[in-house]
């Protein structure tokens, strides 16, 4: 325990870590001045004894597809980069965090427009998984006598919220916002030993929370949850921030194991950990049963249909007229549209828009879209990803679309159903890399879900990433793993 530290000191440490870990390419924009100013104000509040709450003075990062007032939002796309899309408003989730006094350290890297599962396809380049540089991973590699250049075989973070995951993992902030349509928060979380939580929502596209422990995720969720008058799909009921009681008795719990999730592509290590986790619950008295999700094999296809359709629709607004990139052509409106969108979007984005529009065409609507919509216990326990994080060189052997189809397999059904889900790190693989498992909760039962996750977290005692070799003088920071351990004055 560090003893007390001021918000400004904490902020400066995190900023320094951001600089030291620049090679990870986790941040697109670092909002140093803004963060320091916010830290200053937080300090004033603490001195007066008027802190705003648990998040006051705590550094956070935000994926660069959330609007931030006065700070550019690029979505890692040429459509918006440099066009200074400084919206004059904050996304509601961002505003809520800032209202609690959180410090905005910067905007994190992602796949362009959050389309991808590797955080490799944005215009700012790929995000590197900090575990590539961890003592745990490197020792295993030495053991297996790999003699390649240390850096050339760096691992991907997963995606599309890889930047946020890396930012949290490298201790540059305590929590980060990601987005999740098919697994974009939970996927990198699993590759990371981060906790990636998605709450219950109405559409497939949701904000996700990345933290270093379940309690922190609950704290952030408590701040973000609740009715947003600007979002017609949020529930009106009032919400109170909640703390997670420690579960001591799991004997009343029912855990479901979806049998269709046991696919041949699942790595043996993940499968083995999955079994161990199930056994753990059972040995502690919980009721663990096999369940069937018969539409599983259809759901990834349906997901892609629905997702691309929604994407095609949502991307229709990027025409270069009101904001963003506009091409130089002035031949005709149609030509301008076409050129602007070709120049502004990478081919992943364009591909999804085209597919989406295809599915929405009248002749195809019934066959694809409507069928897709038909498909969607206390808690289900499933793997999050097929395997641990892979090296970039291997990842890029398959194209984005194939990768997404493979990697989203366990996570996208949740978005389709609109349920809360959380990925929790379980153990290190034989390569020294994190493997996570996913818990899926019932509708509106976010709190119960987190209670179970927290119990599980306590049982597995997942190790902290050891990055000391890389960051010489920051050993002290590592004790600030959790929010609870930070004591601000």
């Amino acid at each position: 325990d560090l003893g007390q530290i001021t918000p400004t000191e904490l902020c400066q440490r995190c900023l320094s870590l951001i600089k030291k870990t620049k090679f990870l390419n986790a941040y697109i924009t670092v909002s140093e001045e803004v963060a320091l100013k916010q830290a200053e104000e937080s300090e004033k509040r603490y001195k007066k004894g008027h802190s705003l709450g648990d998040l006051d003075g705590i550094p956070i990062a935000v994926k660069d597809n959330f609007s931030t007032s006065g700070i550019e939002t690029t979505c890692a796309s040429n459509m918006l980069k440099g066009k200074v899309l400084c919206t004059p408003y904050n996304a509601t989730v961002v505003q809520k965090l800032l209202d609690q006094g959180a410090l905005l350290m910067g905007k994190t890297n992602l796949d362009e427009f959050a389309m991808g599962s590797g955080s490799t396809d944005g215009i700012f380049g790929p995000v590197k998984n900090p575990w590539s540089y961890s003592k745990q991973y490197r020792e295993k590699r030495k053991q297996n006598s790999h003699s390649e250049n240390e850096d050339s075989n760096w691992l991907i973070t997963g995606g599309s919220s890889g930047g946020s995951a890396a930012a949290v993992s490298a201790f540059t902030c305590f929590a980060a916002l990601g987005s999740d349509t098919g697994g974009s928060t939970r996927n990198p979380a699993a590759h990371f030993s981060r906790h990636g939580l998605i709450p219950l929502v109405n559409s497939m596209d949701v904000p996700g929370i990345l933290t270093r422990c379940v309690d922190d995720a609950a704290t952030v969720l408590g701040v973000l949850a609740g009715h947003d008058p600007k979002d017609s799909t949020t529930i009106q009921d009032p919400v109170k921030p909640f703390t997670l009681p420690s579960l001591t008795d799991v004997s009343k719990l029912c855990i479901g194991i979806p049998k269709e999730y046991l696919t041949p592509e699942l790595s043996s290590e993940v499968q083995s950990l999955w079994s161990k986790a199930a056994n753990l619950f059972e040995s502690e008295g919980a009721k663990v049963t096999e369940v069937s999700l018969p539409h599983t094999s259809y759901s990834i296809v349906c997901y892609h249909v629905l997702c691309t359709s929604e994407v095609a629709s949502n991307m229709a607004r990027f025409d270069g007229l009101e904001y963003g990139h506009r091409c130089d052509s002035d031949v005709s409106t149609e030509a301008m549209y076409a050129a602007t969108r070709r120049e502004g979007f990478n081919d992943v984005v364009r591909g999804r828009i085209l597919s989406g529009n295809f599915f929405l065409l009248k002749e195809n609507y019934e066959n694809y879209f409507v069928k897709a919509q038909k498909v969607r216990r206390d808690v289900l326990l499933t793997p999050t990803t097929l395997s641990e994080a892979v090296p970039y060189t291997e990842f890029i052997k398959e194209d984005n679309r194939t990768r997404s189809a493979q990697d989203d397999i366990f996570t996208q059904a949740v978005n389709m159903a609109g349920l809360p889900a959380v990925s929790v790190p379980v153990a290190l693989s034989s390569q020294g890399l994190p493997i996570g498992l996913q818990f899926i909760g019932r509708a509106f039962c976010d709190q119960q879900l987190l209670i179970v996750a927290k119990w599980f977290e306590k049982q597995v005692q997942f190790p902290v990433i050891q990055l000391q070799e890389l960051m010489d003088d920051c050993s002290s920071v590592f004790e600030n793993e959790k929010l609870a351990s930070v004591s601000l004055k």
Binding site: P88, Y89, S232, T233, L321, D330, T333, N357, Y365, F369
Partner: protein
């Protein structure tokens, strides 16, 4: 108002419609609904009618035209359908545009309660079934005045369906030969208006004004139950009156378009299926966007809006916040008097003919004028009706004025009618006074009467005297009369009138003359 337009399946081909004169009459109308899309003109109501009509060839059974209409009415509300921007006429370009209207990323729609109420009230007024649950969809197309690349509308499940609109048409030459027809209302849906594009051909550019983008529209779809342009025009006019009475839309329309197309139709002309807009400066309609071929709008449910749920007193959830729910029964109670009820009331209350009540309602402001006169005068309602509809309206039309521009106020007319009623002046004198009033020189009827010495001769002796002297002075006319010329009496009356300087009532003169002649 836009006239029904000829719609061709593809150029050169003809559509078969109702065959009159065959054994069985199948009425097949053109497909209505979302395939043909109406684009609003600059007036706040514009139509996309579907009609096919052509001249029958010799020997062939006759064709009958069927007309269906799609009407867009801009909702009279303070703010837009899904955002808080103000709705205001003639504001500087792009001054009433919120982040959502400009479709900035991350902005979401929030439904305007007033617009929903307007839709429900309109549905109730048209005897529609109000769907307790309706849905919103996105209709995609790329156009510069549509920032999001899609319009939010209600394609799958609109707010109101299956209503009817009753209107009256003249079946013969005489005004008294009126019948009531009804046209079925297929549906009413809520949707967003688009912005405006102004084409600057000189600089090869298009200027976009987003003030109108996002304003709420009611789209009303009428089934092809009407059989000619005139019926369509009448139906639309009635709809306009209803919307204005409800206050749900100002429903200002350009009359030009209907007349133009009626003329063209009657001349056997061909009318392109196109969207036209009324150009105020030019005073005529000009072609707008071309609807070449059929466009696939890629309809998709709007993910950012939950289903719209409406309640009635029976189904209202207990403890519901009244701000957050809409009770259809409450809205029904608040419905104002509808035009057809008003017309019935006028007929009953004032003993006027149905066609009179139609005219009163059809002219903007005329009913109010009429009612104000009635309030202030002692004259009989029938007299008031006659004066308002014939004299007053006649003068207005002659000079192409609206009621609001009338130089004669209701009070002035009321005063004039009182004078007439008291028999202080004669009917012709009253007309003269009215003409003077129209000149708007600030004089009251009483003043004009005094100035022009138009008071009726009150002395019966004087009249007798004048009559007698006139008869004596014109024996030839008397002779003419005795020989049986009916017009002779009028000549005599005219002469007496002249002698009285117009101050004697012709009826009274006639009476005296006849009495004197017969004695």
């Amino acid at each position: 108002m836009a006239a029904p337009m000829l719609r061709w399946c593809c150029p050169g081909r003809r559509f078969a419609f109702a065959r009159v004169g065959c054994g069985s009459c199948h009425r097949r109308g053109p497909p209505t609904g979302s395939t043909s899309n109406g684009k609003r003109g600059q007036s706040s109501v514009a139509q996309q009618p579907h009609i096919t009509a052509q001249k029958p060839r010799k020997g062939e059974p006759e064709w009958a035209a069927v007309v269906g209409l799609e009407i867009h009415a801009q909702i009279a509300s303070n703010s837009k359908l899904f955002s808080g921007s103000q709705v205001c006429f003639a504001a500087p370009p792009n001054s009433l545009v919120s982040f959502f209207d400009a479709s900035l990323p991350g902005t979401l729609p929030v439904l305007n309660r007033r617009c929903v109420e307007a839709a429900v009230m309109t549905g109730l007024a048209l005897d529609c079934h109000i769907n307790r649950k309706s849905l919103f969809d996105r209709k995609h197309y790329f156009y510069a005045d549509l920032p999001a690349g899609y319009q939010i509308t209600q394609q799958r499940l609109p707010i109101a369906v299956n209503g009817s609109l009753a209107y009256s048409v003249y079946v013969g030459r005489k005004p008294s030969q009126m019948v009531t027809r009804t046209v079925r209302v297929k549906q009413i849906q809520l949707e967003q208006d688009s912005g405006k594009s102004l084409h600057d051909d000189l600089r090869s550019q298009t200027l976009i004004d987003l003030n109108r983008a996002g304003i709420g529209l009611l789209e009303l779809v009428l089934e092809p139950d009407m059989s000619c342009g005139e019926e369509a025009a009448t139906a639309v006019r009635e709809l306009q009156l209803i919307l204005q009475a409800l206050g749900t839309s100002q429903a200002n329309m350009a009359d030009y378009e209907i007349q133009r197309q009626i003329n063209e139709l009657e001349n056997g002309g061909e009318i392109l299926n196109e969207t036209r807009s009324f150009d105020f400066k030019l005073g005529c309609t000009v072609p707008m966007r071309d609807k070449e071929g059929k466009q696939d709008y890629r309809f998709m449910p709007e993910p950012n809006l939950p289903p719209l749920l409406l309640y009635d007193s029976g189904s209202l959830p207990s403890g519901a916040d009244p701000q957050q729910v809409i009770n259809i029964d409450q809205l029904r109670e608040r419905l104002p008097e509808l035009p057809r009820v008003t017309r019935q009331r006028l007929v009953q209350q004032y003993g006027m003919l149905p066609e009179h009540s139609c005219v009163l309602l059809n002219e903007v402001g005329l009913l109010e004028f009429f009612q104000n006169v009635i309030k202030e005068t002692r004259a009989e309602p029938k007299k008031v009706t006659s004066w308002v509809l014939n004299t007053f309206l006649g003068f207005l039309k002659q000079q192409n004025l609206a009621v609001s521009e009338s130089p004669v106020t209701p009070s002035a007319l009321a005063e004039l009618l009182d004078l007439l009623d008291r028999k202080a002046i004669s009917a012709p004198a009253a007309k003269q006074v009215f003409e003077e009033l129209w000149r708007n020189e600030g004089k009251t009827p009483a003043q004009i009467v005094a100035e022009k010495k138009l008071e009726l001769l009150q002395d019966p002796e004087a009249l007798e005297q004048l009559c007698r002297s006139t008869l004596e002075a014109h024996p030839d006319v008397v002779m003419d009369l005795k020989r049986g010329n009916p017009r002779a009496i009028n000549k005599l009356i005219g002469l007496v009138r002249k002698a009285t300087l117009g101050r004697a009532d012709p009826t009274a003169i006639k009476e005296v003359l006849e009495r004197q002649l017969s004695s």
